[in-house]
C-alpha cells in the first residue's frame, strides 16, 4: 500500500479548495490508496536515461503579431458572473479575521 492517510487527503483537499465532508475524505483515502498503488508501477520503468515528454507533438515559438485582436466586451465578460457591480466581479472578503 502506498499509505495515503486521511490527514493527507484532507490537506490535498485544502490545497485543491474543495470542502470535502469527513465521509468523502474517508472514502477517497481508500480509493486513492488503491489507485496510487496501481499507478505507482510507472516508477519502475522510468529510468534516468529516458527523457520526459510533456507534449505529444512539440511545437516551438508559437507567436502571433503583437496587435490587438477581438476581445470580450465588458458585458460579455460579466455575463456569467455569480455577482458583479456592472464593471467588476464581486466576491466576499479576501482576508479572514485572523489575517
Amino acid at each position: 500500500m502506498s499509505g495515503i492517510s486521511a490527514e493527507q487527503v484532507a490537506h490535498l483537499a485544502q490545497l485543491a479548495r474543495i470542502d470535502l465532508s469527513p465521509e468523502e475524505i474517508l472514502s477517497l483515502t481508500t480509493e486513492l490508496d488503491q489507485i496510487v498503488d496501481s499507478v505507482a508501477k510507472v516508477t519502475a520503468v522510468a529510468t534516468p536515461d529516458v527523457p520526459a515528454t510533456s507534449h505529444p507533438i512539440p511545437l516551438q515559438n508559437v507567436f502571433r503579431p503583437d496587435v490587438v485582436g477581438e476581445t470580450l466586451t465588458l458585458e460579455q465578460a460579466l455575463q456569467n458572473a455569480p455577482a458583479h457591480d456592472g464593471s467588476r466581479f464581486k466576491v466576499s472578503a479576501i482576508l479572514g479575521e485572523e489575517q
Binding site: I4, Q8, V9, L12, A13, Q14, L15, A16, R17, I18, D19, L20, S21, E24, L28, E31, L32, Q34, I35, V36, S38, V39, A40, K41, V42, T43, V45, A46, T47, V50, P51, A52, T53, S54, H55, P56, I57, L59, V62, R64, L72, Q76, A77, Q79, N80, A81, P82, A83, F89, V91, S92, A93, I94, L95, G96
Partner: protein
C-alpha cells in the same frame, strides 16, 4: 412517425446532404424529422442535455433559402448535427456535464462549432457526457446517464456517450465529440458507430472545456466512415486561437474514404492489446476483420509494444495532474456556480464550498489525485515518471510504424456493460480505455468502426486502427475499405441489426409498469 421521417433519419450524413443539395429534401424537413425522433426516444435514451428546436429550424430555413437562391454549399449543408456539451456555444448552454456550469452561456463559439455552422450544418442540441469528460459510461454526468440504444439498461460508453447514442439512435445524422483517452472511440465501439480521434493539433481545441490539455482532441462521431471523413475535412486545419494547432496541409479525408484500398497495406497487430481481459466475442470479430483484410490484399505483422503495459498507469497520473490544474478556474468568481457557506466566509471559503457542491465524486477523485501527483516530494516519482512512460510509448509506436502503415486492435476490452456495474470500482472503469489511451499519450490519430456483434451477448464490437501523427488519411483508407467489405457481407450497416428502439422503449415501459 411517418415513413418519410423514418427514411430521412436513417440516411447517412453524406446521403442526406446530397438530397438536401438536390432539393429532394429540405433542411427544415430533415431537422424536423430529427426533432420528432428526439421527442419520441430521448426520454428513454437521454442522449441530449439540451435541445434547441427553434434555433435549429431557423438555421435550417436559412440553409434552405441559400440553396433556393442557387448558392453552392458544402456536402453536409443542411444536415443536423449533435454537439458534445464540452464544446461551448453562444446560443445553447454548455455545462460539460457538470452542475458547476449549469446554465453557462459562452460569449463565443468553439472553433469547431463555428466551422460546422459556416459549413451549413444544423446544431440540434448539446449531448450528455461524463462530468468534464471523466469517465467511460456517462454515469458520471451530473444530469444522469445516457442509455445505449442497443439495450437501454447498458452504458453507451463515455465520456461521449451522448453523441454516440444520438447518432446510433438516429437522433442526429452526425455529431461532434472529444477524445482524451478514448471518449470518442470507446462509445462508438459499444454503440455500433464510427468515431475518430484526429492527430493531436489537427482540429482546434479552442472553446473545448479543457480536461487534460496535452491529451484532449476534438473529432467526428458518425454512422459511416465517409461521414466522419467529411466532418473532419470541415473541422480540421490550423486555428490561430489554439497555440497547439498544427499548420499541416491536410489531404481530403473524404477522398481517402472514397478511394479506399488495402492492397499491399501493412497492418501491425500489437501483442499487448489483445490478450487478458478482452472478451472472446470482441477478439473473434477482431480476428475475422483482419482475415477479411488479408483476403483483400493486406498483410499482417505481429508487433511488440512492451511499454503499453504501463500506459494506463501513466495516463491516470498525467490526466489528473493536468485536470486538477485546468479545473482550478472554477473558483466561483467569474462564471459558474457560487455557494456561500453557512455564516458566510472569505472568498476562499466560498470557493471551497462551491467546489464541494459543484463537482461530482469522480471529478473530486481526480482533482485530489492530480494534486497529490503534482505535490512537492511526489512530483518526480509520479508525474515525472509518467511523462517518461509517455516517451517510451511514443518510441514503441515509432518502432511499430517503421514496419507497418497502420496498427489494428480491438477498440475496448468488452461490449457495453450494464449501467451501475462498474460505477463504484474506479480501477475497473479505467481499464475500459486500455486500447485507446496509448494514442492520446503519443498524439497519434485513431479510428474505430463496427466489426460485428459479440457471440455471447449480441452487442456491437468495434475495431480500432491507429496511424502515425499527420497520417489521418490512412485511417479513412483502411476504415473505408473494411467498412465496404463488412457492409457487403452483412447486407447493410451494422446498425440495421439493432433492435427497434421504439419497441425497446415500449418494452421497458411495460417492464416498469409491472
Amino acid at each position: 412517425m411517418s415513413d418519410n421521417t423514418r427514411d430521412i433519419i436513417r440516411l447517412s450524413a453524406a446521403d442526406l446532404g446530397a438530397r438536401i443539395a438536390s432539393g429532394a429534401v429540405t433542411s427544415v424537413q430533415a431537422t424536423q424529422a430529427h426533432l420528432d425522433r428526439i421527442d419520441a426516444v430521448d426520454g428513454a435514451v437521454h442522449a441530449y442535455l439540451h435541445v434547441a428546436p427553434e434555433l435549429a429550424l431557423a438555421a435550417a430555413a436559412r440553409v434552405d433559402a441559400q440553396i433556393a437562391a442557387g448558392e453552392k454549399l458544402g456536402p453536409l449543408a443542411g444536415v443536423p448535427i449533435a454537439v458534445k456539451d464540452v464544446l461551448v456555444t453562444t446560443d445553447m448552454p454548455s455545462t460539460s456535464g457538470s452542475k458547476i456550469l449549469e446554465g453557462y452561456l459562452s460569449p463565443f463559439d468553439a472553433t469547431v462549432v463555428k466551422k460546422v455552422r459556416e459549413a451549413g450544418l444544423i446544431p440540434l442540441g448539446k449531448t450528455n457526457m461524463d462530468e468534464f469528460a471523466m469517465g467511460s459510461s456517462t454515469e458520471h454526468s451530473a444530469y444522469g446517464p445516457t442509455h445505449n440504444p442497443w439495450a437501454l439498461d447498458r452504458i453507451p460508453g463515455g465520456s461521449g456517450g451522448g453523441s454516440a447514442a444520438a447518432v446510433a439512435g438516429y437522433e442526429a445524422s452526425i455529431a461532434l465529440g472529444s477524445d482524451t483517452g478514448g471518449s470518442i472511440r470507446q462509445p462508438a465501439h459499444v454503440t455500433g458507430t464510427v468515431g475518430v480521434k484526429p492527430t493531436y493539433g489537427a482540429v482546434s481545441r479552442y472553446g473545448a472545456i479543457a480536461l487534460a490539455s496535452s491529451l484532449d482532441q476534438i473529432g467526428p462521431v458518425s454512422r459511416t466512415v465517409l461521414d466522419s471523413a467529411l466532418l473532419q475535412d470541415i473541422i480540421g486545419g490550423h486555428d490561430p486561437r489554439d497555440s497547439t494547432s498544427l499548420r499541416t496541409e491536410w489531404p481530403s479525408m473524404a477522398d481517402a474514404a472514397r478511394n479506399a484500398n488495402v492492397q499491399g497495406l501493412k497492418i501491425g497487430v500489437i501483442k499487448q492489446l489483445q490478450g487478458d481481459g478482452f472478451q472472446a466475442g470482441v477478439l473473434n470479430r477482431f480476428t475475422e476483420a483482419l482475415e477479411l483484410l488479408v483476403a483483400n490484399g493486406a498483410e499482417i505483422v505481429e508487433l511488440d509494444a512492451p511499454s503499453f503495459e504501463h500506459a494506463i498507469a501513466a495516463y491516470y497520473l498525467i490526466l489528473p495532474a493536468e485536470a486538477s490544474s485546468n479545473l482550478a478556474k472554477f473558483d466561483s468568481v467569474r462564471f459558474g456556480l457560487r455557494v456561500n457557506p453557512q455564516g458566510g466566509g472569505t472568498v476562499e471559503d466560498v470557493m471551497s464550498a462551491t467546489r464541494d457542491a459543484g463537482f461530482g465524486p469522480e471529478v473530486k477523485r481526480r482533482i485530489i489525485l492530480g494534486t497529490y501527483a503534482l505535490s512537492a516530494g511526489y512530483y518526480d516519482a509520479y508525474y515525472g515518471s509518467a511523462q517518461k512512460v509517455r516517451t517510451l510509448v511514443q518510441r514503441d509506436f515509432a518502432a511499430a510504424f517503421s514496419q507497418v502503415d497502420v496498427i489494428a486492435s480491438p477498440t475496448a476490452p468488452t461490449t457495453a456493460f450494464k449501467l451501475g456495474e462498474k460505477l463504484n470500482d474506479p480501477l475497473a472503469m479505467y481499464l475500459n480505455d486500455i486500447a485507446t489511451i496509448p494514442a492520446n499519450l503519443a498524439g497519434i490519430p485513431g479510428i474505430t468502426l463496427p466489426a460485428g456483434l459479440a457471440d455471447e451477448d449480441g452487442l456491437p464490437v468495434g475495431i480500432q486502427f491507429l496511424a502515425p501523427a499527420h497520417e489521418d488519411a490512412r485511417l479513412y483508407n483502411v476504415g473505408g475499405a473494411l467498412e465496404q467489405l463488412l457492409v457487403a457481407q452483412w447486407g447493410g450497416h451494422l446498425l440495421e441489426q439493432a433492435p427497434d428502439l421504439l419497441e425497446l422503449i415500449a418494452a421497458a415501459a411495460e417492464e416498469g409498469a409491472r
